[in-house]
């Protein structure tokens, strides 16, 4: 039986705070109770959490900079610095 107080809709709305550990004790208990009786919401939680976690792979990723672009960047900086030179 699903918890009468907490519906799947409420459960999904609370996922961000749930994962951040920001729920008050009562809401946390209600949500855990809902999870224990609602496999679809457990699956939803897993996939929501996984979606958030895999996104971290895009952190500090190096992306190829073509040689011509690197040259444009160098020229730009040289120009800017020489223009600012006479202090």
């Amino acid at each position: 039986m699903k918890n009468d107080l907490m519906k799947c809709r409420d459960c999904v709305d609370l996922l961000l705070d749930y994962l951040d550990g920001n729920l008050d004790e009562k809401t946390q208990v209600d949500l855990d109770e809902h999870f224990s009786a609602c496999p679809p919401c457990v699956n939803f939680l897993e996939t929501y959490k996984s979606s958030s976690e895999v996104t971290t792979v895009l952190r500090d990723q190096e992306v190829e900079v073509p040689a011509a672009m690197e040259e444009r960047l160098r020229s730009f900086l040289r120009e800017q610095l020489s223009a600012a030179e006479p202090k």
Binding site: C8, S50, S51, D60, E70, R74
Partner: protein, 201 residues
């Protein structure tokens, strides 16, 4: 990941402070790739990203005297790239994507608030995404197809690890708004990945 081992940071710092041409060349050579990676999380348009990168490198050179030498230079450079990307997007973003695009990814509930369809579980390890270029492409595309208002808070939170408070302050949003946007962006990404992984919402 950032490969900072191939360059002597102190030498680079001293060179940049002296505005040496060699140091500037080294900066471009060693840090353009990781900075470009950061910037491309905010805009997928390579020429926009190049413009932002150009401005980021110039700011790094000009602000080098404000860098505290006892800290790591990469987070400092990255912060400049992130701030620059946000400012650039704020200034240049044009037609907004329609809201319905976001609504399509929201879970559907019955009248009494229960999930309306079976939810299939899946879990992907970040390592798997790195090794699977098709999957990482799907993830990247999902993030890039988010409207700006949702993409930026998500990137700041889930990629860069900023707190809700920091994001709210950076984007001048109420914390509740920041949370809603991140949540909806995650639902969107989840939906796209679900469609790819098992062909169901």
């Amino acid at each position: 990941m950032m490969n900072a081992n191939s360059i002597d940071t102190q030498e680079l710092l001293d060179g940049l402070k002296a505005q040496s041409a060699l140091a500037v060349d080294n900066l471009v050579h060693h840090y353009s790739r990781p900075l470009f990676g950061v910037i491309l999380n905010y805009t997928k348009n390579p020429s926009d990203a190049e413009e932002i990168l150009q401005d980021t490198l110039l700011k790094i050179v000009r602000k080098i005297d404000t860098f505290r030498a006892e800290s790591d230079i990469w987070p400092w450079m990255k912060r400049i790239a992130v701030n620059n990307s946000i400012m650039w997007l704020r200034k240049h973003r044009t037609a907004r994507q329609v809201e319905t695009q976001m609504d399509d990814s929201l879970p559907q509930f019955s009248r009494d608030g229960e999930l309306q369809y079976p939810v299939f579980g899946w879990s992907v390890d970040p390592e798997e995404v790195i090794l699977n270029s098709e999957l990482s492409g799907q993830l990247y595309e999902a993030i890039q197809s988010l409207p700006y208002e949702y993409r930026v808070p998500l990137v700041l939170r889930d990629i860069e690890g900023y707190s809700i408070k920091q994001i709210s302050s950076l984007l001048a949003l109420k914390e509740a708004t920041t949370k809603t946007r991140i949540h909806r962006a995650r639902l969107f990404v989840r939906n796209k990945l679900s469609n790819y992984l098992d062909g169901t919402p």
